[in-house]
């Protein structure tokens, strides 16, 4: 009598099939430990990181679970999670971890991997914002808030979502007030060594565009 209903698989929940530890866990754990030099194996799930995290209630996989998932080698679940994008890098978790696991560094590294993978980010807008920031930076060497916001709004779907949620008018008014107060500068100042920066981008394959 098999009454188990297969629910639609949700990110953050373990798969219905059990993945054995050491199946590919060993490889992924060693890879991440090597790349971040974080002490992931030392984690004993005390949840100090999750308790310190100011945005843990917006995450689908909590910080201590992230570490556990890495130990288990659940790569796809990690890269599909909203956690890696919601994380603010405020370093609360790293600072207060009793075993010095380096939780924030691990999450940041996973975000890097996700950004260069084919997996669609769960928090698309946050990923798009980061990318827009780097695009503006690459153009002029410095980031002008006015240009950053314009470029961000012109990304596909962003404006559409703002209109749908009814926030557009409010945000335009805010932008206007900021301009009036002199806090936004419509003209950008260019940093001269921009050529060097663009070259560095290319050489490190930093271009994520």
């Amino acid at each position: 009598m098999n009454t188990v209903v297969m629910k639609k698989e949700r990110v953050g929940e373990p798969k219905s099939e059990r993945i054995l530890i050491g199946d590919r866990g060993g490889y992924f754990l060693k890879k991440i430990e090597g790349e971040t030099r974080a002490n992931i194996s030392a984690c004993y799930q005390c949840e100090r990181c999750t308790n310190a995290c100011p945005v843990s209630h917006f995450m689908d996989i909590k910080p201590h679970q992230i570490i556990r998932y890495v130990q288990l080698g659940w790569r796809e679940e990690l890269l599909k999670s909203s956690t890696i994008w919601v994380c603010l890098s405020c370093e609360m978790c790293t600072t207060f971890c009793p075993n010095e696991v380096g939780v924030a560094e691990v999450i940041n590294h996973l975000r890097n991997i996700a950004a260069h993978s084919s997996i669609t980010p769960k928090e698309r807008n946050l990923a798009v914002f980061h990318q827009t920031f780097l695009e503006v930076l690459r153009k002029s060497g410095r980031v002008n808030e006015f240009r950053l916001m314009n470029a961000y709004y012109l990304k596909p779907n962003i404006l559409h979502e703002k209109i749908k949620s009814g926030n557009l008018k409010e945000e335009l008014l805010l932008g206007l007030t900021l301009l009036k107060k002199g806090r936004l500068k419509p003209f950008t100042s260019r940093s001269k060594p921009i050529k060097d920066i663009q070259k560095a981008y290319k050489n490190t394959r930093g271009e994520i565009v």
Partner: protein
């Protein structure tokens, strides 16, 4: 004394008032701040989120430019300071090739800690013309300036004291509170507004509960987050001051309301009540 100054992108835009007050304060203290030649952006959160290599290389160029000048760096923005320090440590550990011959030997100061050294506090006290008597403040440090301690070098990262010492030196009444180093959400509010709002609202509420009339910050992003959420005129706004604005106010016998016209939470009323303006 001569130092090289890394202002960061916000000081050209959202935090022009911060830049102006820094100029005024350092002039009064007789310290020469030389802006780093053609400084470029440190990459902030976006660089280390998407490309860890760029998060080392982008600040490295500024370190290199400062090394050419041979002057220790002082940074006014918490995130820039954090990124510069991080890059410096990575350069010293030699983890990747940097396109510029940079050694990473300069000292990178964050502005609050630099001004909170005992010598500087003495200098500040000497120049106070109008103590900010009776102004009840809480100091808010945010995250990037104090954490992670292995990068920022703070030993009192759970209860940092630099801003407290500076605010006390100019005669303000500093109130202790528990949210000194809790994150304000940084740029997350742009893409996920409800997350940003929930964090900033909590901070303001806790500041009110502690009995503060104003908040002192040193980070441009913390200031704009805490300030902009008060754009719908509240009954009792909590002005968010840069610490240099308070120094500037106490260094002159007559404050100028123009200095604060960029703020959303208007401090005029509060300062007039305390007869500081």
């Amino acid at each position: 004394m001569k130092l090289s100054f890394y202002p960061g992108c916000s000081l050209e835009g959202m935090a022009v008032d911060y830049a102006r007050s820094i100029d005024a304060v350092f002039q009064a203290l007789g310290i020469d701040l030389v802006e780093i030649d053609d400084w470029s952006c440190c990459g902030a959160t976006a660089a280390h989120s998407l490309s860890e290599a760029m998060s080392v290389i982008l600040p490295a160029r500024n370190l290199f430019a400062a090394e050419q000048m041979g002057l220790d760096i002082v940074s006014s923005c918490a995130n820039c300071f954090n990124r510069l320090r991080f890059s410096q440590q990575m350069i010293q550990k030699n983890v990747l090739d940097i396109p510029w011959p940079v050694t990473g030997d300069l000292r990178v100061h964050d502005m609050t800690r630099f001004l909170a050294e005992p010598d500087m506090i003495k200098q500040i006290k000497k120049r106070v013309l109008k103590p900010l008597k009776g102004l009840k403040l809480v100091c808010y440090y945010g995250c990037q300036m104090v954490r992670p301690p292995r990068i920022t070098g703070y030993t009192d990262y759970e209860n940092p004291q630099t801003l407290d010492r500076i605010a006390a030196a100019v005669g303000a009444q500093v109130i202790d509170w528990s949210y000194k180093a809790t994150c304000c959400g940084a740029s997350i509010g742009i893409a996920r507004r409800e997350i940003g709002d929930s964090l900033t609202k909590k901070l303001l509420e806790k500041a009110r509960q502690a009995g503060a009339e104003a908040v002192v910050v040193s980070c441009p992003l913390c200031q704009s987050n805490l300030d902009m959420i008060q754009k719908d005129r509240l009954e009792r706004p909590i002005p968010i001051f840069y610490f240099t604005e308070l120094l500037r106010l106490s260094f002159s016998d007559r404050g100028n309301p123009k200095w604060f016209k960029m703020h959303f939470a208007n401090p005029d009323q509060l300062l007039k009540k305390k007869s500081l303006l």
